[in-house]
Symmetry: C2
Subunit: 204 residues, 2 copies
């Protein structure tokens, strides 16, 4: 599926790394971190295992690189969508939902990795802790701005609201992965608009 | 952790099965389905592997039994809490949240198993599909009743609302498992009350 093995070719370093990350993302999404071996990933790319280890010395390094690259991708994507426009929270989050609705494999990778990483010994444990904290911080900061501009009720607790909005997206994605007929983005947008127009009890 | 190995004793069948399920739940929550072997579970219980296979012939049978038993447990628990009282949706779901907030290991087991089971080859794939469908159906039916009684806005789409409420609980539990300081039940109750008091745009 996806990346075609290009065996024996000497690809430029950056291109080879991209190829490895794409193959690893597929493998981790399908079989989880524990169920994937470096040998599986090497076989998908069509390189030898030492060839793979040259770029990513451990499976831990590989999954962290996959996750970090996909986060970076998201940031670029959202920057492009909102370039030069005032990005409001409802549009930002529903756009992210729409982007995700077009890439179930990536959403599955994050769902599986996030759940597996609940174990403190998982290599991405700290990564997910920091990712949730960072995302909550970004969304909460945006809530405060929109409260100042009068677009969100002042009574909302910014951090609790951020926690709620991220949780709803995570949970909707899970059900949508299990049952792709669910229109998760319509449900999400509706919840966001309810929040924005609600007279204003606090979210915490 | 938890169940103490009682080696060599001949326990009654039902008691031995309880002991096995408790040990298996711990093991699956810690290491996932793929990361757990029947030998691990047998060692935790203090029985031989053939002794374990006598009760649960495969790892697939074991995880399905663990999940089904815990669902059954939930039903009993909720029946007790609401015995003889009219159970309204907000109270029902916040009570479930409170119960879950007291058993992080079980919540983790479900989070890990649900994410792992996204792969169609996972033994619990169908179980989770059916579980989500069943839960959505129960919550949607309850939404309809409360709309009839005037306690929820008539404009809410029952199925979309059920999807949203289950998603929010799932997502909040994920963040709470990563960051136990989060008061997930306060956030959940608040979202439920906002839904109940909102003037009534539809959730889909």
């Amino acid at each position: 599926m996806g990346s075609e093995p290009v065996t024996g070719l000497r690809l430029p370093r950056a291109q080879r790394r991209q190829q490895i990350l794409a193959a690893a993302a597929e493998a981790f999404a399908e079989a989880g971190f524990r169920g994937t071996s470096l040998a599986d990933v090497a076989a998908r790319v069509g390189v030898s295992q030492p060839g793979l280890l040259h770029h990513y010395p451990t499976k831990e390094a590989l999954i962290l690189a996959v996750l970090a690259e996909r986060d970076e991708d998201d940031r670029r994507h959202l920057d492009e969508v909102f370039r030069g426009t005032a990005m409001n929270l409802v549009d930002w989050l529903t756009t992210l939902c729409t982007i995700n609705s077009e890439r179930p494999e990536l959403v599955r990778l994050f769902a599986v990795a996030a759940a597996e990483s609940l174990h403190p010994a998982h290599p991405a444990h700290t990564y997910f802790q920091e990712r949730y904290e960072r995302l909550r911080g970004s969304v909460a900061a945006r809530v405060v701005i929109e409260q100042d501009e009068g677009r969100l009720p002042g009574a909302l607790d910014p951090m609790a609201t951020a926690t709620e909005l991220l949780a709803l997206m995570d949970g909707l994605q899970m059900q949508w992965l299990v049952q792709p007929g669910i229109d998760m983005c319509a449900i999400y947008r509706n919840a966001l608009e309810r929040l924005a127009t609600h007279a204003g009890t606090s979210a915490a």
